[in-house]
Amino acid sequence: MVRVVLARVLPGDPIKAALGPDVPEEAAQRYREMLNLDKPLYLQYFYWLRDAFQFKLGKSLVTMRDVSADIADFFPATLELLLASTIFRIIVAFPLGVLSGKKPGSAMDNAMRVLAYIGICIPTFGWAIILQLIFAYWLNWLPATGRISEEFMSIHRVTGLMTIDTLIGGNLPAFIDALKHLLIPAVALSIGGAVQEARILRAGMIENIGRDYVLNMRSHGIPERIIYFKYVFKPSIIAVVPTMGLDIASSVGNAFLVETICNWPGMSRYGMIAMLRKDLNAIIGVVLVIGLVYIVINTITDVILYAIDPRLRFKEREES
């Protein structure tokens, strides 16, 4: 809420940004009246608050469409990207963490350590550029930008998620094409965090394998594989999940850059364009939706944590 006031008080005339600097004063005035910008600040805030609860986020000053309609159009693409990057994050972080935790000091473990440092010091947009350069321009395996090739543009929109829409339509080549487009941005968004999470998982595995209960199980002759994957892996994930949740939540922010670089037609790129044009309603709308996504991701993280960590459940039972 403070953000709204902040945005209105700060300099930079949205009218000038929308209509150009040489706009005649009358036209600017009419425009202002249309958008209630001539009213006092507290009234503007009140109007905005009233509308926000009805998901009326006002009109975008650039596209002249409802911001909520714009966001509804662009959000599925961002959601698809987030989901894909989460899946990639999981399939990278877990196996790498388990493998490097199995034999600390092995070649695999050392390679992991180097990877982790690389992962942390290349920013997300750096990954996007590097991946584009290598896989799109030099090797020509993947398309550099966009969401789907032109020949598949007329895909029937059901969920708005390209990959799922193409699957529903049974159009396999289109599905593969969409997947290929998805790969670079999704990997760029998640790889830096994924190697970090693998490191945390590794530390957890090493810590847990030295515990007394593992020794006890070994002495009972329980197969090493079962000990490892059932009784060591499970408690080790608990440390990873909160970090992963935070990383996924902050990748909503990094999506701003990745979507811009990869020309991914998602909400973040829309927000980015709005920011460059000082389109206040659109900025506030996008920030609001991202705040919501942030809360949802954090809630899901808490629920997952609660589901996999019996200690949390027992604690609550004891207290009640």
Partner: protein, 296 residues
């Protein structure tokens, strides 16, 4: 009484120095940390002396020499030249200056401010002061930091100063929260009670009793955060909301140069390497500090 007190104070100071020496010893035995430290010192020196050590200092700002544009990396131009014929290597070294300045300003503001606010809120946990400070911080942590910084920058004029302002605004809550949780866990320690019983003022308890015991986590976080400041600063100028060309800022350079991908890829690689080296050295030092402080 007073003599005894003085000896106590002296003894405490000696113990603190001793502890710092142990930290330094552990730090200096950590090869990676020392590597990072040396890299960082080298970068700072390079940045400070950028005018003298770079081959073409005039290429940092506005300079045009179309005859030498788009030259691939060679001995003359280590990272090649850009679309105006400027030496990319020179510009990257000057870019360090902006990145380090950003780190200095942002951390110089948020570390003291966040620490003081966190101490206050943590010490007076549950009171009005805590509610006000924590409430204010919650406004800023409800949205991913980068989005908030971008949003703040977008409503301001795009320049370096406002980018600094945006990063400072979005980052202080994280400090405040860390110090807050440390303070609230330390405030019932016996030594705090003892200081209270001796009739020490609140300021003494906060800054002389509590603060020295959190130096480790604060320093570690500050070093690790330096790399985040660099990345977020570069991100802001990358999208065009921070420093404007021809400022030799790493993010600005990246956004200018990556338009010439894939044909002139070396231009993009230069500033990218700059960011990577800078972030890596801060991270190595930060990890080293954390390990060194862990035993205290």
């Amino acid at each position: 009484m007073s003599k005894n007190y003085d000896t106590l104070v002296r003894k405490e100071r000696e113990m603190r120095m001793e502890s710092l020496r142990r930290v330094w010893f552990r730090f200096s035995r950590n090869k990676l940390a020392i590597a990072g430290f040396v890299m960082l010192v080298a970068i700072i020196l390079l940045a400070l002396l950028a005018g003298y050590v770079t081959p073409y200092p005039s290429h940092a700002g506005l300079y045009i020499n179309f005859k030498e544009k788009f030259q691939p990396p060679s001995l003359k131009h280590i990272f090649g030249t850009d679309m105006y014929g400027r030496d990319v290597f020179t510009r990257v070294i000057f870019g360090f200056r902006y990145a380090l300045m950003m780190v200095g300003v942002v951390l110089g503001i948020i570390v003291p401010a966040g620490t003081v606010l966190g101490l206050l809120a943590g010490y007076y946990r549950g009171t009005l002061i805590d509610h006000i400070i924590s409430g204010a911080s919650e406004v800023f942590v409800a949205v991913p930091p980068l989005v908030l910084a971008l949003a703040i920058c977008s409503v301001l004029e795009p320049n370096v100063l406002n980018a600094l302002l945006a990063i400072t605004l979005m980052w202080w809550p994280w400090y405040m929260r860390m110090v807050h949780s440390l303070t609230s866990s330390l405030r019932n320690e016996p030594y705090v009670w003892a200081a209270k019983a001796l009739g020490m003022g609140t300021a003494h308890i906060l800054f002389k009793e509590l603060l020295p015991n959190m130096l480790g986590p604060i320093l570690t976080k500050a070093t690790l955060d330096a790399s985040w400041v660099i990345i977020i600063g570069a991100s802001i100028s990358f999208v065009g909301l921070g420093a404007q060309p021809p400022t030799p800022d790493l993010g600005t350079m990246l956004s200018e140069y990556c338009r010439y991908l894939p044909a002139y890829w070396w231009m993009t690689l230069g500033p990218l390497l700059g960011v990577i080296v800078l972030v890596l050295s801060f991270n190595l030092v930060g990890d080293g500090l954390r390990d060194a402080f862990a035993g205290e």
